[in-house]
């Protein structure tokens, strides 16, 4: 898979950024090539293919959560569109990895 994204396991439906990828980066995916609409920070995930709401998200070949919305190939996969099958995730407003410190 094209750097700067890693496909950690053949079963995975997400890719992981091995370096921060600016908006406009072209990424070759399973069935197509996409241009990132937004920057993806280091170690964040994008969808390898279209993922339907309710589908399991696989990373390391293992389930890491469930899609809460349809996720288009090449878009950010994170707490806004997946949830835990166990306990809910607690996050602050900088969870996208790029928001500046938010004043209280």
């Amino acid at each position: 898979m094209t750097a700067p994204f890693l496909h950690l396991h053949p079963d995975d439906n997400v890719l992981v950024a091995r370096a921060s990828a600016p908006a406009g980066t072209e990424v070759k995916l399973a069935d197509c090539t996409v241009t990132l609409a937004h920057a993806i920070p280091l170690a964040h995930k994008i969808a390898l293919r279209d993922i339907a709401a309710g589908e399991r998200i696989l990373k390391y070949g293992m389930p890491i959560g469930i899609a809460t919305a349809d996720i288009a190939a090449g878009t950010h996969v994170h707490i806004h569109n997946i949830r835990s099958a166990y306990t809910p995730t607690h996050a602050l407003q900088d969870a996208d990895g790029q928001s500046p410190e938010t004043p209280k």
Binding site: L6, L8, V16, A17, R18, A19, S20, P41, L42, A43, H44, K45, I57, K59, Y60, M62, P63, I64, G65, V77, H78, I79, I82, R83, S84, A85, Y86, T87, P88, T89, H90, A91, L92, D94, A95, D96, G97
Partner: protein, 400 residues
């Protein structure tokens, strides 16, 4: 040919890699006086630990006893206010039975702050002379106990730092060391794959039950073991964090399940069950990373491998912390705090095996006396709070 280094021989036959004089306060009300005693010894190995609570707790008493008789500890000064519930007679007896120099100062009977500090410093001065005479003895990797935790995890932790720590564990276990991984709340979703690695099916059931207990406990609390920074670093769910954390355990067979204060009986890989037994009491199992480190030290850990992605700077009292940075950007930002740059794996500069070997070699160097970054910077974090545990079951430590 296994490497040898010089350890500090203790009366129970265990050997330490450091020879620390510990000053332990037995209630928060004695914390300031104890810290003033320690402050008189900037250039010597005198360290502060303590328990803040005024109410008795068997877990805290046991952990304190194990810490004060840890092979890295040469002498202990307890500092009591006088009216707290901590059983200071039992604590002193535990240490005295090992032949270590030990004293208890009760502030209410020692003339207050200034006089207790003065008396305490004089005692520590003489204890330093005593511990300098401790016998040295050859020590091998097969006598080391190594812990691992991850803190300030992000999406890089599970790809670089944790697999490299797991590789180091495999190397150390092959050389006879005992290695401990823990935080069962961060193994949620890994229970089945973990149980398959147990030495016996009965142990596998105990491992599974420990994770299920953690899941119930955190569900009651309403929070997983997941901090806000984990999400900013790209982790979306507890199971994603868990899978990344689980790989710290490497590929070795799992030899046993222990609880805080239980010392591994022989080499091998051990899971520490850190979630209290019974109904939810006293709040979160471990309120921060150092609470986990302290529990592994209570189980005899000579040092701890700490994998961080977001960038933790902590060290620990009693046993050195080796900081492994999983994230290359964090490494560049906090290089002065990091011992190992596992971010090289992310950037394709080195393999997991190469970084794992570097960690294993660093463990040996630290055992020989080399200071870790956090040690040299003076980090000596410590925290001990209320918990309650039942003893481990009969299937938890299968015979050889």
């Amino acid at each position: 040919m296994t490497e040898k280094f010089q350890g500090y021989l203790r009366s129970d036959g265990r050997k330490g890699i450091r020879n620390t004089v510990v000053v332990a306060y037995l209630v928060e009300c004695a914390h300031f006086v104890a810290s003033k005693i320690v402050a008189g010894f900037d250039d010597e190995d005198v360290q502060l630990i303590g328990f803040p609570g005024c109410f008795p707790n068997e877990y805290a008493a046991r952990v304190m006893g194990q810490l004060c008789t840890h092979p890295n500890v040469g002498a202990v000064l307890f500092v009591s206010l006088g009216c707290e519930s901590f059983d200071k007679v039992r604590a002193k007896g535990t240490v005295a039975s090992t032949g270590r120099p030990v004293e208890t100062l009760v502030i209410q009977r020692s003339g207050g702050t200034a006089k207790t500090v003065e008396t305490g410093r004089a005692w520590v001065r003489s204890a330093l002379d005593e511990v300098a005479k401790v016998e040295r003895a050859p020590m091998g990797i097969d006598e080391l106990i190594i812990g691992t935790i991850c803190g300030g995890s992000d999406g890089t932790s599970g790809i670089s730092g944790n697999p490299a720590a797991g590789k180091a564990f495999d190397l150390l276990i092959a050389e006879g060391a005992a290695c401990i991984f823990e935080e069962t709340g961060e193994l949620i979703s890994c229970e089945d794959i973990m149980a398959e690695r147990a030495k016996t099916p009965e142990l596998g059931e105990e491992l599974r039950a420990a994770v299920q207990k953690a899941e119930r406990y955190y569900a009651t609390l309403g929070y997983g073991s997941f901090a806000a920074g984990n999400a900013a670093g790209g982790l979306s769910t507890i199971e994603e964090k868990s899978l990344g954390a689980y790989v710290k355990s490497g590929d070795s067979q799992i030899s046993g399940l222990i609880k805080p204060g239980d010392v591994p009986p022989r080499g091998g890989l051990y899971l520490m069950d850190v979630v209290p037994d019974g109904e939810v009491r006293f709040g979160f199992p471990n309120i921060s990373d150092n609470a986990e480190i302290v529990e592994m030290i209570a189980s005899g850990a000579h040092m701890t491998l700490f994998v961080t992605g977001r960038g933790s700077v902590v060290g620990s009292a009693i046993s050195p912390v080796i900081k492994i940075c999983a994230n290359p950007d964090t490494y560049r930002a906090l290089e002065g705090d990091m011992d190992v740059n596992a971010g090289d794996i992310i950037e394709g500069k080195r393999s997991i095996a190469e970084v794992g070997q570097e960690i294993r070699d660093l463990v040996v160097n630290v055992a020989k006396g080399a200071q870790t970054k956090s040690e040299a910077l003076g980090h000596r974090e410590f925290i001990l709070t209320y918990k309650s545990f039942d003893p481990i079951g009969p299937s938890c430590l299968p015979a050889v």
